[in-house]
Amino acid sequence: MTDTTTDSARANPASAEQPDRTGWARFFYSIGLLRESPAAMLGLSLVMLWVFVAIFADVITVWGPNEYDYSAISVPPLTVDGHWLGTDISGRDIWSRLAYGARATLTVAPAAILVCYFVGITMGMLAGYYGGWIDSILISRISDIILSFPLIILFIIIITVFGASALNIIVAVTLASSPGIGRIVRGLTLDLRNLEYVSAAQIRGERSLYIMAVELLPNARGPLIVDACLRMGYTVITIGILGFLGLGLPPPDPDWGGMVSESRTMATVPGMAYMPIIPSIAVSSLVIGFNLLADGLREISTRD
């Protein structure tokens, strides 16, 4: 007799092929994939290093950021105990100012990114999903007008009008970045809204808000996470520029751009150049870290 039973496990080899990974397990699995890209790992370590410094700023420093050590003014790095990155012309510990500066940067930058993503996603989703006049007049034209404005001038106007504060930096970054995010989201939405699962949702009478938030947004997250990472780098630069122009966090609180600005005249003084160079390196390393990480994320998100 022939064996005509079909064992479902035997007939279904696909069931064992991919382990079920949901939620956090999948998140950590994806992060694990980063290990295959050395550049991404370098980026991740640079970012994590600064995050660590920012979190433990008060533990890993001896001096306060605004404390003056009159016994050690303008000492170069690695010469005096307790000031291993040296001190500035007022005798403030550079390492300490760097660490507290990291705390300021890494608070303001993510907050700004969060706000401008909220605004950008809302704009882009509405424009992409509804199209028509909402897209062409209300959102795209307004974006064009903002994008056609020189950014630095925009920042200067905002900060000089409203005064220098963390909140105003966030407002400035949002104004400058959200139109760009809006465009990306609009493009992604245009691609996604013609898919059949969106039609299926429409046919079962889902409200537009539900379709945008539940059906569309989660599928746009891949490119958006990569973009957010890149934009984080740009925002760090922006905060640095604002600080350099004296439009950053109000002095005397430490701010990387401000540190460069305060010591910029020292750049040509023999033996004093470390003062502007050290905070510049800090800015660059964090920005490079974010960029490399973004590249790595892009790589793993396009591969699977």
Binding site: T2, D3, T4, T6, S8, R10, A11, N12, P13, A14, S15, E17, Q18, D20, T22, L195, E196, Y197, S199, A200, Q202, I203, R204, G205, E206, V214, E215, P218, N219, R221
Partner: protein, 692 residues
């Protein structure tokens, strides 16, 4: 032309192994493959997707890409080992001695060059002829592929000609250098059935004229019958059965080949007279092949301790007929049993469409229209559609792309609203109520299954969420425990394990996704489900399973099924009634049996004549449509089909809208030809008088 008896082989593939190298290591796509093609022979390679058909073709062309390679064996072309050829020699062989035609004609042509310059390039590069001579020969070749007005086509760009014409251009380019071997990889899959028939005719004609050896790759057994002398069935990278068409189709020996035949709906049978037998499971991935026979896990005749040990050799069962199975002498195949099923009774009408039309308005901003003062044009997507669907019955809407069937589905579901006419659904006129104005009950009562398994489920949500949302939305159950229970029950209905509810769509195969889509559509217990080409993107074995499923679920809930398709064999199997559409109008409507018998509408006749039948004993009357479907922007007055009708009467067809002639039993034909004349034609399908 019969292959000559001498051992003049054009292509010899000897024990070739082809592997891809990926992150997971070496993946043996084709472990061991042999094939010999005689000069002038036409050979068909069939199998489901993922069986390695295309990989073999790519290996012959030496196009395996950066991560693929031939790891063992030899490929000899006209007696020369291709591995010993230099890159220069390979380039000279490819495109002149071996040519290939791909599935997607649009992507095989360069959109920024004219057709002429692309065709001429073949001759200029390979034969170094002058531009003028190349042009002359190109035009001649275009004439050979039945291209109307070849001189004009030479100056056109690819997007300016239709898909069928593009594929003709690609075939012309492939044949231009008179190749010894022509590889065709699913050349007609992207084309409509009537266009497919003309392209197939062309391939057969060219082969006879130039005595070219063909390797025809397809998943469609019906096309293989039309084109090939011999056929090889591939499964999971190896040849499982090989022989002449008659040997493989009529004296089938391998269980996989049986399986393929059992899951194809044939035109002679419907759901009441036979069942489709899907092959369980799916093709195992190359790096997870089971030991022994790779078909073992899906085979009904699998025997432990026999089939799962060691290599299975390819054995010769008759002259030229080879089978790779250890148990061929023990197994005998019984065709699928008849299903004694009661024909669905007459029910009350659920859907009644009366003279429904849908026009899209287009604003013409050209100067000419400004002068004429005619700035508005209408695309007549649907015009005066009328039919009725009864509870529990399956109504199929059939037609080629562009006939307005999808627009009709959109109007029904409320994604679009009708321009005029009525759609009575559950006693209410829904023609002009868009979906966001419909109330919960109305929405619940009509749901839809979509075509593309990859687009139908949201990749971010689990299966449980997809089905659960419908249950919650329509208030079938409201508490989270109840919803979970109901999701489990729906998964049961579509015969998937309950554990699937936590899976994400990317963890499912195409067929599984389509089952989830069916579960989702039926979860709200609708009175009507619209299925828009639900199986056309699936492999035949999976297709059979989904068709069976749709049928069962429909019966269980006594749902009306509106089945939109271009595949007449599937339609014949599944539906009780058929509506044939052409260019937005209904040409013929009636019960399934009546549509497939005379009297035919001339368009239906042409459609039926174009269906590929996987049976060498059935002869089809040959009717081919000339020209292209006219634009819906400017449809012909009178009969829509007049411009292509093979039985065109004369002026009356252009000037007067044909009457709906009643052929009895609700069978209507929209044609000027009197009914008795239409009834007098022979049936399209005839069984060949016993071949021996």
């Amino acid at each position: 032309m019969a292959p000559d008896s001498s051992d003049d082989y054009v292509l010899e593939i000897e024990n070739v192994g082809i592997s891809y190298f990926t992150r997971l290591g070496e993946i043996p796509a084709v472990p061991d493959f042999s094939l010999k093609l005689k000069r002038g022979e036409s050979y068909g390679l069939v199998g489901e997707s993922g069986c390695g058909k295309t990989t073999v073709a790519m290996a012959i062309m030496n196009y395996l890409g950066l991560n693929g390679g031939i790891v063992k064996g030899r490929i000899k072309f006209e007696g020369r080992d291709m591995a010993t050829m230099s890159d220069e020699e390979l380039r000279a062989v490819r495109g002149s001695r071996i040519s290939m035609v791909y599935q997607e004609p649009m992507s095989a042509l360069n959109p920024s060059l004219t057709i002429g310059s692309q065709i001429k390039e073949v001759l200029v590069v390979h034969e170094g002829v002058s531009d003028a001579e190349a042009a002359e020969r190109s035009i001649e070749m275009l004439r050979d592929v039945n291209m109307p007005d070849p001189e004009r086509v030479m100056t056109r760009y690819p997007h300016q000609i239709s898909g069928g014409q593009q594929q003709r251009v690609v075939i012309a380019m492939a044949m231009l250098s008179n190749p010894a071997l022509l590889l065709l990889d699913e050349p007609t899959t992207a084309l409509d059935v009537t266009v497919e028939a003309t392209v197939i005719d062309l391939v057969v004609k060219l082969r006879e004229k130039f005595n070219t050896t063909l390797l025809y790759i397809s998943h469609n057994l019906g096309l293989i019958v039309k084109v090939c002398d011999r056929v090889g069935v591939m499964y999971s990278g190896s040849m499982v059965e090989e022989g002449t068409i008659r040997q493989v189709f009529k004296e089938t020996r391998h269980p996989y080949t049986f399986g393929l035949f059992d899951c194809i709906p044939t035109l002679g049978a419907d759901k009441h007279s036979r069942t489709l037998q899907p092959i369980p499971g799916q093709v195992s991935l190359p790096h997870e092949r089971p030991p022994g026979c790779s078909f073992g896990p899906r085979c009904n005749y699998f025997q432990q301790g026999v089939c799962d040990l060691g290599e299975t050799p390819l054995e010769t069962v008759a002259d030229g007929h080879h089978v790779r199975c250890l148990r061929i002498d023990e197994i005998s195949h019984v065709p699928s049993a008849a299903q004694s099923d009661v024909v669905g009774g007459e029910g009350d009408p659920v859907l009644d469409v009366v003279n429904m039309s849908k026009f899209y308005e287009i604003n013409d901003v050209s100067l000419a229209s400004l002068i004429k003062g005619q700035s508005r044009h209408y695309v007549k997507a649907n015009e005066k559609i009328s039919f009725c669907a009864q509870r529990g019955r399956t109504v199929a809407i059939v037609g080629e792309s562009g006939c307005g069937k999808s627009t009709f589905a959109k109007v029904l579901t409320g994604l679009e609203t009708a321009t005029e006419g009525e759609i009575m659904f559950e006693g209410r006129n829904i023609a002009v109520i868009p979906v966001h104005k419909r109330d919960q009950d109305l929405i619940r009562a009509m749901q839809m299954v979509f075509q593309n398994p990859d687009g139908t489920l949201n990749p971010s949500h689990s299966v449980g969420h997809c089905i659960g949302r419908v249950i919650k939305k329509f208030g079938i159950r409201t508490d989270s425990e109840g919803i979970r229970e109901q999701v489990g029950e729906m998964l049961d209905v579509v015969r998937l394990p309950k554990a699937f509810s936590t899976r994400k769509p990317r963890q499912l195969s195409g067929g599984q996704k389509q089952r989830i889509a069916v579960a989702r559509a039926f979860a709200g217990n609708p009175s009507m489900v619209i299925a828009d080409e639900p199986v056309s993107a699936l492999d035949v074995s999976v297709q059979a399973a989904v068709i069976n499923l749709l049928n069962d679920v429909q019966k269980r809930y006594n749902t009306t099924l509106l089945f939109i398709s271009h595949d007449l064999s599937v339609v014949r199997f599944l539906s009780d009634e058929i509506v044939v559409m052409y260019l937005g109008e209904i040409m013929e409507a009636g019960s399934s049996e009546r549509i497939f018998m005379p009297p035919y509408h001339p368009y239906t006749e042409a459609l039926l004549s174009a269906v590929p039948i996987p049976d060498p004993d059935i002869i089809q009357k040959r009717i081919r449509l000339e020209g292209e479907m006219p634009s819906a922007l400017d449809p012909p007055g009178g009969c829509r089909f007049a411009s292509r009708c093979p039985r065109y009467l004369g002026k009356i067809c252009n000037d007067e809208v044909p009457p709906d002639q009643d052929a009895g039993d609700g069978h209507t034909i929209k044609c000027h030809i009197p009914l008795h004349e239409l009834s007098a034609v022979e049936p399209i399908f005839n069984t060949r008088e016993s071949a021996d």
